[in-house]
């Protein structure tokens, strides 16, 4: 081993390792080279000095106040976990949880009951309206003396005539007059029209019968009558949609 190799080997070892080295080549060169032996001895002395410095503060630690400050900062920066480990529910907590679910079930049942009740009421009301309307329609159809005529008339598109129109369908009285709608629901309207001798021509639904209506006196076409040659006049109530609401045969 030459001095360069000796120096390199010493550099690769830490100071503490040098004092305990058992490398035969290193020790042999140390015996042969006085300068390297002296240099290695200096490293041993330095290692001893650093060892004494290390041991002088070996037990040194931060004072307790530092730990307190650090833990205070930890509590502020990291959210703490619950002290108790998650395990079986305590009876009190389970009871409270059960109460929550119990209340929820009650609320759901009450809501379902309310909804079903509302739907039932709506269905009954709707069905009652339908029944009353159809019953009124049948009764009117049976009681009207011009039943056969009105049925035929209903199939004919009604054309309102202006007073200036001069044809076979002569308008008697005002060509059209706006009717005062009695307040009330559709069955009430139908009953009011029936009381005035009108025959309802259709079952009004709330949407189509809420508009204005016009009363038109017109001459029925011969094809709509029994075929008699006498002109037959009728008062016709026409809705906004152009459809006949009711008709009354004018007795001449």
């Amino acid at each position: 081993m030459i001095c360069r190799e000796f120096a390199k080997k010493v550099e690769e070892s830490s100071l503490s390792e040098l004092g305990q080295t058992g490398d035969a080549q290193l020790l042999a060169h140390e015996r042969e080279c006085a300068a390297c032996a002296e240099w290695l001895q200096q490293r041993h002395v330095l290692a001893g000095a650093l060892q004494s410095l290390r041991s002088s503060v070996a037990g040194a630690e931060a004072p307790l106040v530092v730990e307190q400050n650090v833990l205070r900062a930890f509590r502020q920066s990291v959210p703490s976990v619950p002290a108790a480990e998650p395990g079986p529910l305590s009876p009190l907590f389970a009871f409270r949880l059960g109460r929550v679910f119990e209340f929820g079930a009650y609320a759901a049942a009450a809501a379902a009951l309310a909804v079903s009740l509302g739907l039932g009421v709506w269905y009954l009301e709707h069905r009652q309206k339908a029944d009353s309307s159809s019953a009124g329609h049948k009764a009117a159809a049976q009681s009207s003396p011009a039943n056969s005529q009105t049925e035929k008339i209903a199939q004919v598109p009604v054309q309102a005539q202006s007073p200036s129109a001069s044809d076979s369908r002569r308008v008697v009285g005002p060509a059209s007059a706006r009717l005062e709608r009695p307040s009330g629901s559709v069955p009430v309207l139908v009953e009011a029209q029936q009381a005035q001798g009108y025959t309802p021509m259709m079952l009004c639904d709330p949407l189509s019968c809420t508009g204005d209506e016009q009363l038109v006196r017109m001459q029925l076409p011969a094809t709509a009558t029994d075929g008699s040659q006498d002109a037959q006049m009728a008062d016709v109530i026409i809705g906004d949609d152009g459809l006949v609401r009711a008709i009354r045969i004018v007795q001449q």
Partner: protein, 202 residues
Amino acid sequence: MATLTEQTDEQLLALAMDGHEDAFTALYRRRQGPVYRFALHMSGSPQIAEEVTQDVFVFLAQRGRGFDASRAPLGAYLFGVARNYVRRAMERSFSETLNTVAAEDHTDSLVSPEDTVEGIARGQLFVAVRKAVLSLPEHYREVVVLCDLQELSYAEAAAAIGCAIGTIRSRLHRAHGMLAKKLQNSAAVAPDISGLAARCPS
């Protein structure tokens, strides 16, 4: 489940980040001593060492989730954080930390009073070594503190400083030479280290 004392540093940190204060306390008590001594050796000031120790663990509490165990062990990571805080603290009080009188006073308090000739010589050697270490440039001083005084391996020191192992080795070798030279020039050096800086003939 293993007790906290049986957990590794990384496991304790993970528990602490989940909010377990006991784990953080155990980690602090395990690691505060080395961090404190590192800061004390680097600065020569117990006040700075306390301040640095507190800052390091407050940093860990606040940003411990950013620790990557695959890059370095937690111990080396803490030394790296402490290194930065020491540098900041010493920049703030540069004159104070390099005040040799203060350093001498502090080291004197660490030396056991011995009235024998050997004890006095040892005390003088101790003071001389401490002054020599504190007067080293920072990047040499930190490798001496980490490798010679904290007894970290070259790999751990490299992880703490963030450089290659070869850099640690070369810096340490150079630091040893500088220390030997400083001790040789010191008037207080004992005769047994007077020829410390002698060079190998080759």
